[in-house]
Subunit: 158 residues, 2 copies
């Protein structure tokens, strides 16, 4: 079985990087609407969205936030991380079919509180920035090597 493992506070150094990417599909946007309750037609109604400045449906901005949080939780520092804070600036829309890539870089370590700061830059398949921000996390103190749970699979109900 596939396994997940983390980097502990002591294993992390300033300048360390990690990458994580995801293609955003129509189903992701509809599932994000279901989870958040945000059913705005700019996300769900192609006819409405075509008449906006975006020219078509766009993903919820915070869906990109969700992908940043997954990058932190799955890659750097990985499992066991306690999420303390996040800032985000939403720079460009993400559309159906876009592949977004999160680039994380460790910019600071605070030894007294065992807190790590990471710069977060998310770009689309054209290399254009869609979100930039900063995360604050407390990595696990201990090494964790754990079985990777299966990704839940959902289907839209008729």
């Amino acid at each position: 079985m596939d396994q997940l493992q983390n980097l502990t506070y002591d294993e992390i150094s300033i300048g360390q990087t990690a990458d994580y990417s995801k293609q955003v599909e129509e189903t992701d946007i509809r599932m994000f609407a279901a989870v958040s309750g945000d059913v705005n037609p700019v996300h769900l109604d192609e006819a409405f969205a075509a008449g906006t400045m975006f020219g078509g449906r766009i993903a919820h901005g915070m869906l990109t936030g969700a992908v940043i949080s997954a990058a932190l939780a799955m890659e750097l520092p990985g499992p066991g991380t306690i999420y303390l804070g996040q800032t985000m600036r939403f720079l460009r829309p993400v559309k159906i079919g876009d592949r977004i890539s999160v680039h994380l870089e460790v910019t600071a370590k605070r030894d007294d509180k065992k807190i790590v700061t990471l710069a977060c830059e998310v770009t689309n398949q054209e290399g254009k920035a869609v979100v930039t921000g900063e995360a604050q996390v407390m990595p696990a103190r201990e090494k964790l090597i754990i079985d990777r749970p299966t990704l839940p699979q959902f289907k839209e109900a008729d």
Copy 2:
């Protein structure tokens, strides 16, 4: 049919508030894992999570972020809002069955750029803060009264 409407920049005043709440169910957490790709066992595996400092499964922190973004998009300023930025501090875990309530309050308006700042405070059913932060948005310039799209419904595949 139920309708959505927004507040334009000119209709918004400092001190204005709005509230939005959601009960977080196991299915929300599993759908958030599916959308983000974050399958950490602290969210998905009760046996693993029971052995952590949280004593059981917790929601992804950014799921609360998703609910903040829905409050902005559905309530204040509502549809047509352009999301510019968000800060969040994650203060307490959210567990399965918790009802989280987002309280928004307009704290600043910047007339030259038509940008509104809102304080965001999310509390649980015990009134304890789980997330605090600040949002920056650009409300729509025009009044929008639009049909509310149906909330998508998903079922977990067997």
